[in-house]
């Protein structure tokens, strides 16, 4: 392929390094330093995509991250393809493959292009209006909409790349390395501020670095030469870290910013390997200097979207920076002087400029004379009324503007061209500024939103602060920096400056055409195909709020977030509604400034690092013994231990039987443990539990129920009195952290007078729970010296013993209803004590059991599990646990709420037992319960909370919450399921050993 549009050699392009790449399957060549966009233009490829709604041919419009049209699919044939990448930001490398989006079968012949001719059928709100009726048809519509909607295609394989996060703390963060950013960063660092300078591009210097306007001079040098020297000096400055290819995505409060650093996207495949692709920088800066520059505005006129129509500033960058001509016959269309600079740049390189069309009546800027000398024709007070060319611009028609700018007069002039540069003025890039929560003010004279005020923590400098001309930029920067950094002098103070000044302005948001608006297509949002017509329609239909107009027309809702056209949308609305733009305000600028990959957001937190897992000291034993695990909060708990090819059901039935027939052992290490000490410990427990604690003897254990202040059950567990002023509390596995937090809260804020200290000791102890009629014999083998008689060591009591000279705590407590001992050993000794129990229990066929069997056994006894049988709406009374609520205590957390009219209602949902008529049917947990089958609508009385097949009773059992259930004993109810109605009978919640005889068996 010839690079017929490469017009000059550029210091930013390495012409010795030729690179091949593929676009839409075809091989092209470019040079190191090219973006995909500049390389395509050099190859005379302008048609790069189709528009979203009308499938109109679209070309490259810009040279930066604001690009709305040239968004491409990278690695289109890979299952890790990336959609919506901006061709203007992709640096080419050997082997790069990319393709157009939104077109089928190809960008040159796209079937969807028919939508362009059907455009009158697709007005703003088309989808809202059309697919609303008939309602039942939505599913059919959706199928077709889903197939034609969306930009690009998503990858369908796991992202193989590595991503990372880094926290950065700095004194001064400078965003943007144009002339203002460079001078700001240099002076901050020189004054001993730890400084970080970021820029989204791969080169420093912003737009000044490729400036060729001879009228702009610094220190009697050209501005670009002077800036290059400044950049050169940055290398030797301490305290200054510079990151290129780094785009600031978000600016949150308190100077917290998120930036995406791109590390390998520009490298060839082999250099990408094993390297971090992108890194999210989490920056907390003491001071932030925004030097984000300005974005050039397009002009809004009929058919302003054809391939070959580009921003004037982009044409300048392609020619000056990349050495590429965007067209062979160029026209510029402008409302300000900047297009003349672009035109002159082209002219000086021998690229033909046919004409400049200016909507202003005149301008007396110095550069006008140079244009006249170059023999370029200027059409003052003219506007483009239409353009020609389908896949590439071929010409424009212009007419004279009326004095008020609302219509055109005279005869139409036709000019042929293949590139049109449009220059609608400049919009300060205030996105990050507003994200930080700061307010904008509207400059009516210049039609721009600018930052309202600088603060002690943040300033906006250069064109993002509203300073566009060189002398204005440098002078204001000097003044602002001195104040902001509190320094006496900058190193550029008083430097000689020369530049042009703009004197003449004219702004027309929507340029008129000789055709009626209905017949024109003046695009405001190129990516979403929203036209000025759509905005007008929205206003006609009664939309007033600019946020509503945005959503109705989708203006500004693409991946580019309307960086180019949002101002025009506002301007058009203001003109029609007859309000001032400053009063209208703007839509919200939301992060991210440019799209982020999911990889960058999650960083290293994928796979095993997605969440932290907690494992008990006996974990290895469980793994070696083929346990299946379940997640309980962050804990990995043994769920059941299948033998050979046992199903879960078979394993649980076997384990449950063994625990009641002989002996079982459970790893209970995950239960929360809180060490409570202090002279007011007993009083504290009195206040947090529903029952009384003062009289609990040393060495005794007690079950406690903890409520929220609203009277609802919050947590439960056994607490043991170790000493006069020392208790150990156990909590549920999942509730441990919250209970500690809640208790600390009361101690610190409501009862600071109490002398109580809380320490989480969950991880300090490993707990092996021995259970079953033979558990006493097993324990006796382990500690022969300990008197295990019911007199010396009764149920609900505690002993501290030495096992292998290790201090262990043994509680005789039971969550299964069987004789049971919980051995608490120091965590490091956990696996050893577990092994000891297994060894000692061998002759009794000791059976390890997991959480599922534990749940089954406790359900046989009707013991609740907080969070399964309760859901934050159950009082102890609802749970039929009145016995644990002290009537004598004056107060405890939640007590008053138990006497509220609502909590005392008789027909609240209450916990009951359920037995199925057919003992083999096991109810589904969560199933609804009704009393009438033929009632419509049927009243839902409650639902099943726990349900199992009990091997010890040889029948199905369930716990449920049912409205007024307490008074329904023996009543027949139904559990309606998909295919059948299951008959059930309300029963006692205790199914097994109602008299608790087995505790002392």
């Amino acid at each position: 392929m010839t690079q017929n549009l490469r017009v000059k050699s550029s210091e930013f392009i390495d012409e010795t390094n030729r690179i091949s790449f593929k676009f839409d399957g075809k091989t092209y060549y470019g040079f190191k330093g090219d973006t995909l966009a500049s390389a395509l233009i050099a190859n005379n490829v302008h048609l790069v995509g189709r528009s979203f709604k009308y499938h109109r041919p679209r070309g490259i419009m810009t040279s930066g991250s604001e690009e709305p049209n040239a968004i491409v699919q990278v690695n289109p044939n890979s299952n890790i393809t990336e959609p919506n990448a901006r061709a203007t930001e992709i640096e080419i490398y050997e082997g790069l493959e990319a393709s157009s989006q939104n077109c089928w079968p190809s960008v040159n012949f796209d079937i969807g292009g028919i939508n362009n001719f059907l455009a009158p059928l697709f007005p703003a709100g088309f989808y809202y209006k059309t697919f609303m009726w008939p309602k039942s048809f939505w599913e059919k519509y959706e199928f077709f909409i889903r197939h034609s909607a969306g930009l690009g295609k998503s990858p369908n394989a796991r992202d193989p790349d590595i991503y990372d996060h880094r926290n950065i703390h700095c004194d001064v963060l400078v965003v943007g390395a144009g002339i203002s950013g460079i001078l700001a960063a240099k002076n901050a660092a020189k004054n001993n501020f730890k400084t970080l300078l970021l820029d989204e591009k791969n080169e420093l210097g912003g737009s000044t670095i490729f400036e060729e306007n001879e009228n702009n001079k610094i220190n009697h040098n050209s501005a670009s030469e002077w800036l290059k020297k400044e950049i050169n000096e940055l290398k030797n400055i301490k305290n200054l870290e510079i990151k290129t290819r780094t785009s600031v995505a978000a600016y949150h409060q308190y100077n917290y910013l998120l930036a995406r650093e791109n590390l390998t996207d520009h490298l060839v495949k082999k250099d990408k390997k094993n390297k971090i692709r992108q890194r999210l920088l989490k920056i907390r800066a003491k001071k932030v200097i925004l030097a984000t520059g300005a974005l050039e505005r397009p002009l809004i006129f009929n058919n302003n979207d054809r391939p070959g129509i580009m921003l004037s500033s982009a044409i300048k960058k392609y020619s000056n920076f990349y050495g590429v001509a965007c067209g062979t016959k160029n026209i510029f269309f402008t409302n300000n002087d900047s297009a003349y600079e672009s035109a002159l740049s082209l002219h000086n390189k021998g690229i033909k400029v046919e004409a400049i069309i200016d909507i202003r009546e005149n301008s007396d800027a110095k550069i006008i004379k140079k244009i006249n000398d170059a023999g370029i024709k200027i059409y003052w007070s003219h506007t483009i009324v239409d353009t020609r060319g389908y896949k590439r611009l071929s010409g424009v028609s212009i007419m004279k503007l009326s004095n008020d700018g609302t219509s055109v007069t005279g005869s139409k002039i036709s000019i042929s061209c293949n590139c049109l540069g449009i220059a609608g003025g400049w919009t300060p890039a205030v996105h990050l500024y507003t994200q930080s929560g700061s307010k904008l003010t509207f400059d009516e004279e210049r039609k721009i939103f600018i930052p309202k005020a600088d603060t002690k923590e943040q300033i906006s400098v250069g064109s993002c602060g509203g300073d566009f001309e060189l002398d204005e930029i440098i002078t204001n920067l000097n003044y602002k920096l001195k104040n902001f950094l509190n320094i006496n002098k900058t190193d550029f103070e008083g430097i000689a400056l020369e530049n042009d000044h703009e004197t003449s302005r004219r702004n027309i948001w929507l340029l008129p055409s000789d055709q009626t608006i209905g017949k024109t297509k003046p695009f405001v949002d190129y990516q979403n195909d929203a036209t000025a017509k759509d905005i007008k329609l929205a206003l006609r239909e009664g939309f007033r709020s600019i946020e509503h107009v945005k959503r109705y027309t989708t203006t500004g809702m693409g991946t580019d977030q309307g960086k180019l056209g949002n101002m025009h949308a506002l301007g058009i609305i203001a003109d029609i509604a007859g309000v001032k733009m400053g009063e209208l305000g703007t839509t919200t600028f939301r992060p991210p400034y440019t799209p982020l990959t999911f990889g960058t957001i999650v960083g290293r937190n994928v796979g095993e690092f997605f969440d932290t897992f907690r494992r008990t000291p006996m974990n290895d034993w469980h793994i070696n013994n083929k346990a299946e695990f379940e997640n309980v909060g962050q804990w990995k708990r043994s769920w059941y231990y299948p033998k050979e090819d046992e199903t879960m059901h078979q394993a649980v039935q076997r384990e449950s039987k063994a625990a009641r027939m002989s002996a079982g052992i459970l790893d209970a290490s995950t239960l929360g443990k809180i060490d409570i000490q202090g002279s007011d410990a007993s009083e504290f427990l009195n206040r947090v539990y529903t029952n009384a604690w003062s009289k609990l003897a040393i060495g005794k254990c007690r079950y406690g129920l903890m409520l929220n202040e609203d009277g609802m059950v919050y947590d439960d567990g056994v607490t043991t009195r170790l000493d006069e002023n020392h208790y150990i509390m156990t909590t549920t596995t999942g509730g441990a952290a919250n209970v500690l937090g809640k208790l600390e809260d009361y101690l610190q804020t409501e009862w600071p007078e109490l002398d109580v200290y809380l320490t989480s000791v969950t991880d300090h102890f490993a707990t092996a729970s021995l259970c079953g009629p033979n558990s006493k014999k097993i324990l006796n083998k382990i500690i022969p010296d300990l008197d295990l008689s019911d007199v010396n060591f009764p149920h609900m009591s505690f002993k501290e013993v030495l096992i292998d000279k290790i201090k262990c705590r043994i509680m005789r407590i039971s969550f299964t209803g069987e004789l049971s001992y919980e051995i608490n050993a120091p965590a490091s000794y956990g696996e050893a004590i577990w092994q000891k129990c297994i060894e000692a229990g061998k002759e009794f066929n000791i059976t390890p059991y997991g959480t599922e069997t534990m749940h089954l056994l406790r359900a046989e006894k009707g013991f609740i599990i907080v969070g399964q049988d309760t859901d934050g709406t159950m009082t102890p009374i609802d749970l039929q646990m009145d016995w644990i609520v002290s009537k004598k205590k004056y107060d405890f957390i939640g007590k008053r709420s138990l006497y509220r009219s609502d909590t005392m209602k008789e027909d609240r949902k209450q916990l009951i037992g359920l037995l199925t008529e057919d003992p083999n049917i096991v109810l589904e947990e969560g199933a609804q319960i009704v009393s009438e089958l033929n009632q419509k609508p049927v009243e839902m009385l409650g639902h099943v909370t726990s349900s199992y097949f009990s091997p010890n009773l040889n029948k199905s059992i369930a716990l449920a919450v049912v409205k007024g259930g307490k008074n329904m004993m023996g009543r027949k109810l139904f559990v309606p399921m998909e295919n059948k109605n299951i008959s059930v009978t309300v029963a006692n919640t205790v199914f097994y050993d109602e008299k608790n005889e087995r505790l002392n068996a």
Binding site: H252, Q253, Y254, N255, Y256, R284, G437, E709, D710, G741, E744, D745, Q748, T749, E750, P752, Y890, D891, K895, R896, S897, Y899, R900, S901
Partner: protein
């Protein structure tokens, strides 16, 4: 993401903290003396004002201490931070 000046540890990132709702709502000393309405007032009613609001915060992943914060809810400006038991700033 706020930068919060814990009165015990100094400036820390917001992710170390937990918000605990409106401050200066004292638990009634004698709940049993209260009517249902009075108890409900304590239990459920919160001001949720636009402007400077007094809030409880906990340095949950730090010193675990509770403290108070005066925060302007309209712009998230932290006006003051003070310890539990101290009076809210008058300004």
């Amino acid at each position: 993401m706020f930068l919060i000046n814990c009165p015990y540890c100094g400036e820390r990132d917001q992710q170390e903290f937990k918000a605990g709702g409106e401050a200066h709502i004292e638990r009634p000393k004698q709940p049993t003396e209260l009517s249902d309405d009075e108890w409900a007032e304590y239990l459920f009613m919160r001001k949720n004002i636009k402007g400077v609001q007094f809030e409880r915060w906990n340095h949950a992943h730090g010193c675990r201490k509770w403290f108070n914060m005066a925060r302007d809810t309209s712009n998230d400006e932290i006006k003051a931070i003070y310890k539990m038991g101290e009076k809210p700033p008058t300004q």
